[in-house]
Amino acid sequence: MKLLNYTSIYFSGALLIIISIWAAVFYYTMLIEIYDSIDDGLDNQKGLVIQKANTDSTILHKNNFDEADYAIHEITANAAINFRDTYLDTMMFMQNEKSDEPVRLLKTVFLQNGKYYQLQVVTSMVEEDDLIKQLFISVLWLYLGLVLTIIVFNNFLLKKIWRPFYQLLKHLKMFRLDKPDPVATITTKVDEFSMLNDTVQKFVQRNIESYTSQKHFIENASHELQTPLAISINKLETLAEDTELKPDQLTLLASALDHLDRLTRLNRSLLLLSRIENKQFAELTSVNLNILTKKVITDFYDQLTFSDLHLDINEKDLCIQKMNPDLAGIVIMNLVKNAIVHNKTGGFINVILDKNSMIIENSGIDKALDKEKIFNRFHSGQSSAASTGLGLAIVKAVGDLYGFTTSYSYEQKHVIRIGF
C-alpha cells in the first residue's frame, strides 16, 4: 500500500473517532447552555407576570394558556407550602406547526392578597431531533472536508517534502554491487532525510568496500595459491620418478597428483572469473561466432569421437557479436564442454546459431535441472570430479559483462540459450 493511502486511512480513522466524540460533547454542552438560557428567560417571565398580577388582578383568573405563554391557578395553602419551583420538558400544541411541539415549562407558586396561586410559564424549546440532524450534517461536512484536505495535503507533501526520499529510493533501485556507481547524494533540508542519506551512503560504501575486498581476496588467494601448488605438484612428480616405488605407493601419489591438478584447474577458473568481473578483457572486436564455434568443435573432435557423441551444427544465420575474442572462445568452449561432460555415451549435441542467439542442446540425464541454480558457482547437477563446477558460471559472468541473457530449459533434452 502506498504511503499516501496508508496515512490517509489512519488519519480518516482517527478523525472519525475524534470528531464523533467532539460532536457528542459539543451537543451536550450546547444543550446545557440552551436550557440554562431558556430557564433564565422563564424566570424573568415569571417575575414579569407576578408584577403584572400585582397591578392587574384580572390575570389571576387566566386559567388557560391560549394566546399568552402563562396560566394561573389558585391552589390551597397546604399545597403551596411544599411547592418547589420546577422546570419541565413537555409537549404543547402549536398553532403554527399544527402539532404538539416541545416546550419548557416553569411551575411556580406566588402569594397575592393572602391567596396562593400556581403560575405556569412556557416557552418554545428547540427540537432536539432537528438539532441532532443539523449537527450531524455539519459534522459530516467538516469530516469530509478535513479528510479531503488531508489527502490533498498528503499528496502535495509526498510530492514535495518526500521528494528526496523517492529520489534516494530510485537511486537505490538502480544500484548494483558489481557495477558500483555510487548512489548519488540527495540534497534536503529535512534532518531525517539527510540522516537517511548519510546512512545509506555509508552503508553502500561499506558494501562496495567489502565486495571489492572479497573480490580481491579471491583474486589474491588464487594468485598466492599458484606457487605452493606448483611446488607440491613438482615435488610429487619428482617423487613419482623414483623407480623404487611400489605400485600401491604410486597409486597414492597418482591420486594426490590428480587432486592437485583439480585444485589447479579450480584455481585457474576462479582467477578467470575474477578477471572477467574486473573487466580485464578490454579488447573488443566483431567476433564471428559461426567460425569460432566450428573451430572449437574441431578442437573437441577427439573427445566427441571418444565419447561417441553426435554433434550437429545448425547455422540459421550469421552470428556476429561485438565482444572480446578470448572471452567468446572461452564461452563456446565451456558450453560445448558442458554438453560433453553431462552427456551419455552415444548421445547428441545440437548447436543452433541465429542472428542474435546461440542454443546448445544435449542429451543427458532424463530430468530437468534447477534452472535458477545451474549458472551458480559450484552448482553441479551431479557431484563429480569431472568438472570444476565453474564452467557455466564463467559463461554467465561473460553474459553479465556484455548484457547477454543466459537461460536453461528442459525439453526432453537440456537446452542452454544465450541471447545476444
Binding site: L229, I231, K235, E237, L260, D261, F306, S307, S387
Partner: protein, 224 residues
C-alpha cells in the same frame, strides 16, 4: 646446455634445478634480482628461466637488460601471475615463451627443449630418439627412414613424450599440453589411453626402437 633458474621460492627453485639436472643440463640458480643480474652479467647461458616477481626488482627489467645486450639466451618467463598483460609484455620484450605456475615438470622440459631447438643451440635439425627421427619444423616423423604417418594429436603426444624421454610424464600434463582445455576431465585417463594405444601400434609396426610404458595411475614413460 647451461641453464639459469631465477626463482625466489626455494621449493620451486629446488624442484626445477633438480629436474633440469636430471636432463644433463648444467643448472645454476639465483634467488633474487641482484644475484640474478650479477650472474647474467658475468656468465653466458643457453636458457634463462625467469620469474617476474622477484625480491629486489621486476624480472621484466632483467629481460630488458638482457635483450639490450643482444644476448643469445633463450628466455622463458615463469610466473604465478597468469595475467595476459604480463604475458604480452614479456613476449614483446623478447621472451621466447611464457609458462604459468603451476606447471608440470614435463611441460617445463618440453618448453626448454623447444626453446633450445628454436635457438639452434642443440646442433641438430632433427630430434633423434631410438630409431625415430623427428622434424619439428615440418612436423614429420621417420622410423628407420620410413615415414610414420601420424595424425595431429598423435604427433603432439609422441613429440611430448620424446622431449621427456625416459621420464615419467603425468597424464594430466600430457592432456593439458596436447588438448589444452578441450578435454573433459572425467574420462581423460581412458581417453588418453585410447590415443596412446593407437600410437603404440604404429610405433610397433614400424619398429621404432622405443616403447611407451604405462605407469599405473600416473601416466606414461617413453623408453628409448
Amino acid at each position: 646446455m647451461k641453464i639459469l633458474v631465477i626463482e625466489d621460492e626455494q621449493g620451486m627453485r629446488e624442484s626445477m634445478v633438480r629436474s633440469l639436472q636430471q636432463e644433463k643440463h648444467v643448472v645454476e640458480s639465483a634467488p633474487d634480482f641482484y644475484s640474478a643480474r650479477e650472474k647474467l652479467e658475468t656468465y653466458q647461458y643457453d636458457c634463462v628461466l625467469l620469474d617476474i616477481g622477484l625480491p629486489g626488482g621486476n624480472g621484466l627489467v632483467l629481460l630488458e637488460e638482457l635483450k639490450k645486450q643482444n644476448s643469445a639466451e633463450g628466455v622463458i618467463i615463469v610466473s604465478a601471475k597468469d595475467s595476459l598483460d604480463d604475458k604480452v609484455k614479456g613476449l614483446n620484450l623478447g621472451a621466447d615463451d611464457y609458462l604459468a605456475k603451476p606447471f608440470h615438470l614435463a611441460e617445463l622440459h618440453a618448453r626448454v627443449r623447444s626453446v633450445l631447438r628454436r635457438k639452434k643451440l642443440d646442433g641438430s635439425k632433427y630430434i633423434i630418439c631410438g630409431n625415430l627421427k623427428i622434424d619439428t619444423e615440418q612436423r614429420m616423423v621417420w622410423a628407420n627412414e620410413d615415414e610414420l604417418i601420424l595424425n595431429r594429436k598423435e604427433y603432439d603426444v609422441l613429440l611430448y613424450l620424446v622431449l621427456n624421454r625416459n621420464r615419467l610424464v603425468n597424464k594430466s600434463a600430457l592432456a593439458e599440453h596436447v588438448w589444452g582445455d578441450y578435454i573433459d576431465d572425467a574420462n581423460s585417463y581412458d581417453f588418453i589411453y585410447s590415443q596412446i594405444k593407437n600410437l603404440r601400434k604404429k610405433i610397433k609396426d614400424h619398429d621404432a626402437g622405443i616403447e611407451i610404458e604405462a605407469v599405473y595411475g600416473i601416466g606414461y614413460k617413453l623408453v628409448a
